[in-house]
Symmetry: C3
Subunit: 421 residues, 3 copies
């Protein structure tokens, strides 16, 4: 995952353009995702697919011919979606098109102007302070904004059921690692992992530009929405912070409860926040006309780490261990949802005699008491109404243990499965 991030890091992405195609083609080396193109001008609900933006080069050159800003060194230097420009400008005119972060003077900020035509450069405040007021600068942006298409990647893994779990991650950021090459990398390898498993549910992975991408997908796939049983927006998932789960608008859907259950028993620091209508693409999935049970899993949330949306969000901010941990948590969430079934106790009147079936011995191990109690919980609560997740929540036992003893009890015909409708 980290190597994938390293490979994708230099590419200049945006909400449209060649950088996105290049990114998705690299992902195709790992998973067979489909690259979808939606033409400029397509109406998607209240929005319109914008013109495609591409950029080849950009710089600011002083009168001595020194490139003091060079797009080739960092694609963050250019205001994302900048119009083309080539002219000589005074310090005062240039200043109006420069973005810096005075409070973080070493870092280049990341700025965009998708829906308002403009041109501009981003640089560290320290570098900005070195510009000379009496100097004339040449500004050059070799970009184009023209009819083309919006590009996104989609990978659908068919399971036993039509019901599907959605993973959505945004691909519109240029050289920023945690936000969101981390999400891209983790989702890519999660998809590859799932494609090698037999699953009860179907899985859909979307690699989309933020906001306009999820709006476009929803507009073009309204017929598929009814199958979405739950989902997660995955972003900012490679830093060293604890986990943050932002609930879906529904708040208590199975996905919401699954994530909370896994985090609770993970031994990791975590926090759970209620839905608010600000953030990533969960804003669209949770709009009132869809109200999908789609939450957002992050480590440190957007805007809450100092490197956010600056050149500080680089390859040093994310770490392979963190990516692995995030991957594992996501896998545990999937595992929970895959195994969250309802059972009926076939001997509901009084306890069945576990001893004569060898069940006390069968469980064995060091935490025998805990397993025995888990078995009693599953028997006591399995009335066909409660799922294993309900039983895990009620008992305080972790889902794995509950699921494990449920399988043992099922083998002994003490439980009979009931399909969750």
């Amino acid at each position: 995952m980290y190597q994938l991030i390293e490979k994708l890091y230099p590419i200049c992405r945006s909400i449209t353009g060649e950088g996105n195609r290049k990114t998705l083609r690299i992902l195709q080396e790992i998973i067979p995702l489909k690259i979808q193109e939606v033409p400029t001008g397509t109406k998607v609900f209240d929005w319109t697919v914008p013109k495609e933006w591409n950029i080849r080069d950009a710089y600011i050159m002083d009168s001595k011919g020194n490139k003091i800003i060079d797009f080739k060194k960092s694609n963050l230097h250019v205001l994302n979606y900048s119009m083309p420009v080539q002219k000589k400008v005074s310090y005062n005119e240039l200043k109006e098109h420069i973005f810096t972060l005075p409070e973080k003077p070493d870092w280049i900020p990341y700025r965009t102007s998708y829906y308002k035509e403009n041109w501009g450069f981003c640089m560290s405040h320290n570098q900005f302070m070195e510009l000379r007021e009496d100097e004339e600068y040449e500004v050059f942006i070799d970009s184009s904004l023209s009819d083309g298409s919006l590009t996104y990647g989609e990978y659908y893994i068919r399971g036993d059921k039509d019901d599907e779990i959605l993973f959505s991650t945004h691909i519109c950021h240029p050289s920023l690692c945690n936000d969101n090459l981390s999400g891209i990398a983790v989702c890519t390898y999660l998809a590859r992992h799932l494609s090698e498993m037999k699953t009860r549910y179907s899985y859909r992975f979307l690699f989309i530009p933020g906001t306009i991408g999820s709006i476009t997908w929803l507009a073009k796939n309204e017929d598929k929405v009814k199958n979405i049983k739950g989902g997660l927006v995955v972003a900012c998932i490679g830093d060293g912070g604890g986990f943050t789960y932002k609930r879906s608008r529904r708040g208590i859907s199975e996905m919401d409860r699954a994530v909370e259950n896994v985090l609770k028993h993970s031994g990791r620091n975590y926090q759970v926040r209620d839905f608010i209508p600000y953030g990533y693409d969960e804003r669209q999935y949770c709009s009132p006309g869809f109200n999908l049970p789609v939450g957002c899993l992050m480590r440190t949330p957007h805007g809450e780490y100092p490197e956010y949306h600056t050149s500080g969000d680089n390859l040093e901010l994310v770490h392979p261990d963190n990516l692995k941990e995030s991957f594992d948590i996501l896998l545990s969430i999937i595992d929970l949802i895959e195994n969250n079934r309802k059972y009926i106790n076939t001997n509901p009147k009084c306890e069945p005699q576990l001893g004569r079936r060898g069940l006390y011995d069968m469980i064995g191990g060091t935490n025998r008491k805990e397993k025995e109690l888990a078995m009693l919980w599953v028997l006591n609560m399995s009335d066909g109404e409660r799922s294993l997740l309900d039983i895990s929540e009620r008992s305080g036992c972790n889902f794995d243990l509950i699921n494990k003893v449920a399988n043992i009890l099922k083998e002994k015909d003490l439980l009979r499965g009931v399909e969750v409708v």
Copy 2:
């Protein structure tokens, strides 16, 4: 409001009598309230309108002809509803008819004997200690208890709807300022203010003697009760304490939630208490046969400030600033209820594009982020089921802001109104 209190302060009021009529006639100089008379003996549910009590003079005179207690100096000196009396009494006999407050020796207590015939005087404990055991005193109370009527004031302001909001305040206390000339003054000016506004709801103001007054009104107006959408008993509202809201028996009615919302965002100290069947006229409005959503707004609750029901509850205990603050809170509550509507997001699928409608600029101001988020909350939550009050509670944004952005979104046709049924 404070001047009105000064004017009403000297009048001797009770549950019936000329003092009440005089009080209501003074209010008629400000608002066109109707003075209602209900004859002695009228059956009102389990009760009967009592005889009318009037008093002209009263004193205790020592053997040297000194009036040591004089009703003209303070009407608190006479046990309210005292029978007439004129005789010479020994110290020992007199003592049986004297009420004092040993623990607050400077203050005259306020005492009543509405439903048990008696005569008596109230005086400061210090003065009582100066009485001589060997002295003979003349007691004189020139009062009358005879067929007449119970008098109350009613002012109905017609709004667009039959649904009405009730404000009820008690007028039965003689020279006591906070309890309850403060309630009378604030309600009078609130009524005048509302009479000059165009309102969605109708408003009814009752100026009534405590207990028997609300029972009488309810008994004679059972047909109107169905229109009462919510209401407040207003009392003890002029002192310097924080606000106290006592919930209606229903506890979570719109009125209850409106008051709590306004207090929460008011920046004032406040507390909210659950309904108990003890207190002011909310006892009657919240009796199980009516169960009206009528709470009680106070500052320091009855019985919880030392001056309560003593001569210490005088013109110094209430202050114009406090009255104004209470008035403003009540107006905010009315404003919330008037504006608490439900809307439907006309673009429920994904977010509408706010930028191209100039909505990001429109909101402007210093707290732009807060306003933008409020806009997203209103759009996300406006599914026709949730009211603006629901959205204010869910988002934590104050109601004014939520209402303001809702109006902007409505102008842009992004919201469509749904009438609260």
Copy 3:
């Protein structure tokens, strides 16, 4: 109660056998309980009534003829349900059949082997340390395991209604006082007390061996289960700890709320715990096929006092005062359930006039204000939907007071009874 415990203490009980019959015959001296016999081999749900175990004598004798362990001194010395044995064994062989408590070296542990054939002895760890490795020992257990029956006691007290309250206490422990001669003694005298009262509900007392006893009763009395309105397993009720109430699986049944209400107002230390499927016979009553509202009342819970299941659980651990206190709490619970009715306020519109009915005087006493407020609560809440227990919970007034004022109000025709369905 304490004398009964003293009398029962020496008897060797188990899940079957003569010791249980002898125990129940002693209880018959106090209450006319029926002794029920269920033959070995009877199928009871998933279980089978086991062979009957009886024991006459047992010892370990050293080569000099000294009985170093003697069943006659403590029946705890023999592994309960031991097979008969008589042979000479080496130290090493003997060691495999000895149970001790190294961490509590003075006490003999209590151990059983009901469903796995074995023989064994229990002794203090100190005594075990004195055994000699080079010694040959004679082990002798004069026991029998053969067809017979499972024995339990049942006492049914008919009340006005078929609905019944169940008290269940286990009788399978040998010389252990708190667990559970305390439960046996308290239930016996509670039953005697109830038999002398006229009650609204019927009462059933079960004196049964743990687990297999309740399973057997439920299997043979499925037709009676529908009448069980609530119940309590009573165990470990004689020690000096605070009370522990373990809720039924339903958690909020009337019995659950009654126990919590009584404990809350008892002035005693207490804790309330949610149901878990581990513990005493509530495991069976609360199995999903029955889901009866049966909780468990204890003082210090099983396993949480050091003497639990050791010879330390002796006559010194329980105390007459504790037994009396437990008895009183149980009686208060019964009193609450017997008196928990719903009433309708016959004057629901506004408050009735209490004064003219002399109700303010009637209540009198030192806590007059409290009683007056309780009266207002009962009137305000008695809408036919709320029970007196609901009113006690809502008002915070103790049930006795609520019930007392309800009776006064009923006498004055201000309340009319509604039968709880």
